[in-house]
């Protein structure tokens, strides 16, 4: 949408490191380890990866919602929103950003709503906190938001409790809650994972529509490449707490460079391909307390050679601008021979 070269980034994440001290202090889980990316105004940036690769911790770190202890964001990390480092803000300053400028929606609409309050009260909450509106004005805002997210009979639904709504409706309510203050950035952490496929499509379309109407930037965190393909402008692929590839959505799908991205794409069932067993990346994401030496993907990589074990590659520029991959294959493409 917006060209990255001309506009300054709205949200700049640089060298983000979020570590967790494991119980009894026996180890450190490096859940997010040196992650950098930019989010430009109005765009949708997808963050993709398997479970346990650090996507959610990244998103929680941005609003400093990582439970401390056991988690902590290391000094040297930078999360800059409109020129201010969120990591250096005082608690009241941070609260003024949360829900107001940067809002978040969560994976589980069943548990992310408070069961003892009406959805109207919950939607109105951010408006009451940040804009100090009156109760009646807040209620009117809640009804307006419910209408905006496509809930039928908003005048009636505003007084309903979460348990009276279906999963898809609850996710709509979550979105209404997040957007009530017209945030500039919306962080959507697996917004459709808990929903069934038809509802998924509706929710994502709703997010697209609202994004265009409100002109906000969306950080879309998902493990579903199909979601990314349809809704993200650019993609960051994460593996083992690191960014392993970053590219525009087209570039990523046309020319995946990192073997991990390749593996993820091969694992997606395709309607236009001959029927065959789906590809699976062998093995699992290693434990965050003991990342492998060298390239963290090498134990599962079909092309790995000695250099991959010995030394971790930096994020290397591929031919296309804005397309980088953390893989030695960028410099030595002739090595792309499956070893197994």
């Amino acid at each position: 949408m917006t060209t990255p070269e001309t506009t300054p980034a709205l949200l700049r994440v640089r060298n983000l490191k979020t570590y967790f001290v494991t119980e009894h202090g026996t180890g450190t889980a490096r859940a997010v380890d040196d992650v950098s990316f930019d989010l430009y105004p109005g765009e949708t940036l997808g963050i993709v990866g398997e479970s346990g690769c650090g996507k959610t911790v990244t998103s929680l770190s941005i609003l400093r919602l990582v439970p401390e202890p056991p988690g902590h964001v290391l000094p040297g990390s930078l999360i800059e929103f409109e020129g201010r480092n969120l990591l250096a803000l005082s608690a009241p300053e941070l609260r003024a950003v949360r829900g107001n400028q940067i809002a978040m929606i969560f994976q589980e609409p069943m548990t992310s709503l408070n069961p003892v309050f009406t959805v109207g009260d919950q939607i109105a909450e951010a408006a009451i906190i940040h804009q100090h509106v009156s109760r009646s004005a807040a209620r009117a805002r809640a009804i307006e938001m419910l209408r905006l997210v496509g809930i039928p009979d908003p005048d009636e639904r505003v007084d309903h409790y979460p348990h009276q709504l279906s999963g898809g409706m609850r996710q709509r309510v979550m979105i209404a809650m997040a957007l009530v203050c017209h945030p500039k950035v919306l962080i959507a952490d697996e917004p459709t994972t808990a929903l069934d496929v038809t509802i998924q499509a509706q929710i994502l379309e709703l997010l697209d529509r609202l994004q265009h109407e409100m002109g906000m930037a969306v950080l879309l965190i998902t493990h579903d490449l199909g979601v990314v393909a349809g809704h993200a402008d650019r993609v960051v692929v994460m593996y083992a707490g690191r960014v392993v590839e970053t590219a525009s959505t087209e570039a990523l799908f046309e020319r995946p460079t990192h073997p991990y991205t390749e593996g993820l794409l091969a694992a997606v069932p395709r309607i236009d391909a001959p029927r065959a067993r789906l590809h699976a990346i062998p093995g699992q994401v290693p434990a965050a307390t003991a990342w492998p030496p060298g390239c963290r993907f090498h134990p599962r990589c079909p092309y790995a050679w000695e250099k991959c074990v010995a030394e971790e590659p930096p994020l290397l520029e591929t031919g296309t601008p804005g397309h980088g991959a953390r893989c030695w294959l960028v410099t030595e493409p002739e090595r792309k021979v499956p070893q197994r």
Partner: protein, 308 residues
């Protein structure tokens, strides 16, 4: 008993029954309150409590004699129940019914206020311990452990000994301040599990501050156990007051409380059993009614029932 007293008593009975009936009738409109009245005992409990509260409030109307004055020390002592003295008189020739009515003020007052102090304090301490965890939790809960290890009666006796005759407010405070320990543990356990729920993270992501999160998001979800523990707490405080008064360190005579009525009547239990039967009955009735109401409240406030 004069005609006026009988009339007042009759009105009180009718009023209590009517309150219970009205509440029950209105309750059928909302699912939650329908669950509250699911058990028949709940309506009875509510009716009995309403009756006793009305008696306490209308003590000057329903009680024919002053509660503290001996009526005739020679011929009216330990008088069995009659039309004039419906519940008899005690060893100091005071009308038991009048003392019971006036004593309801003191006993129910101490019960309610004491339980209020206890539950507020217990909720505050439990919520802080459960929400902040770490050293706050450790300090508060070890304090509670120590408090629970000390016998409550002993602490109260020391307090009374220091003061030499407690005024009403001090007695309420003393009882309240020694009765919150159980509630705090209960609330802490609830808060510990609630604080990990996703809607708490969601509230933080909206920019809510800690106080708002605790009081608006966490505690309302723990309302069921808190309210039930308050209802049961009233009964406990009532019994505690009775035992303190029985030991002679509670409500100072000649002011009647149900506890010191039992204490006064203890010596004549064989010759004039009515002197301790009726206050004992009143205490049992309140405690049983509160238990019934608490049962109903628990059913009404359980979110799991709501989801079903």
């Amino acid at each position: 008993m004069r005609l006026g007293n009988w009339l007042a008593l009759f009105v009180a009975l009718v009023l209590a029954a009517e309150i219970a009936r009205l509440l029950r009738q209105r309750a059928t409109r909302r699912e939650r309150w329908r669950r509250f009245f699911k058990h028949r005992t709940t309506s009875w409990g509510l009716g009995i409590l309403a009756f006793l509260v009305i008696i306490a409030l209308a003590a000057p109307l329903v009680a024919p004699f002053p509660p503290g004055d001996p009526l005739g020390i020679v011929d009216l002592k330990n008088h069995p129940p009659s039309w004039t003295f419906i519940l008899g008189t005690d060893v100091l020739s005071r009308d038991v019914w009048s003392r019971l009515a006036w004593g309801a003020r003191v006993s129910l007052g101490i019960g309610t206020l004491g339980a209020l102090v206890a539950v507020s304090l217990g909720t505050l301490v439990g919520a802080s311990a459960g929400y902040y965890r770490r050293w706050v939790d450790a300090v508060l809960m070890r304090g509670v452990d120590v408090g629970l290890a000390l016998p409550r009666i002993f602490i109260l006796m020391m307090a009374v000994a220091l003061w030499d005759g407690l005024p009403f407010a001090a007695l309420v405070l003393a009882i309240g301040l020694t009765s919150w320990l159980g509630t705090s543990r209960l609330v802490r356990a609830e808060v510990l599990s609630l604080r990990e729920r996703e809607f708490v993270v969601a509230a933080r992501a909206l920019g809510a501050q800690t106080g708002r999160i605790i009081f608006r998001h966490v505690l309302p979800n723990a309302a069921a156990p808190i309210i039930v523990s308050a209802a049961l707490g009233v009964g406990n405080v009532l019994l505690l007051e009775a035992s303190l008064s029985f030991l002679g360190i509670g409500v100072a005579p000649p002011n009647p409380s149900w506890g010191n009525m039992i204490a006064d009547g203890a010596s004549t239990i064989y010759t004039a059993p009515w002197t301790i039967l009726f206050p004992g009955l009143a205490i049992s009735l309140v405690v049983m009614s509160l238990n019934a109401v608490a049962d109903g409240l628990r059913d009404a406030l359980d979110p799991r029932e709501e989801a079903a």
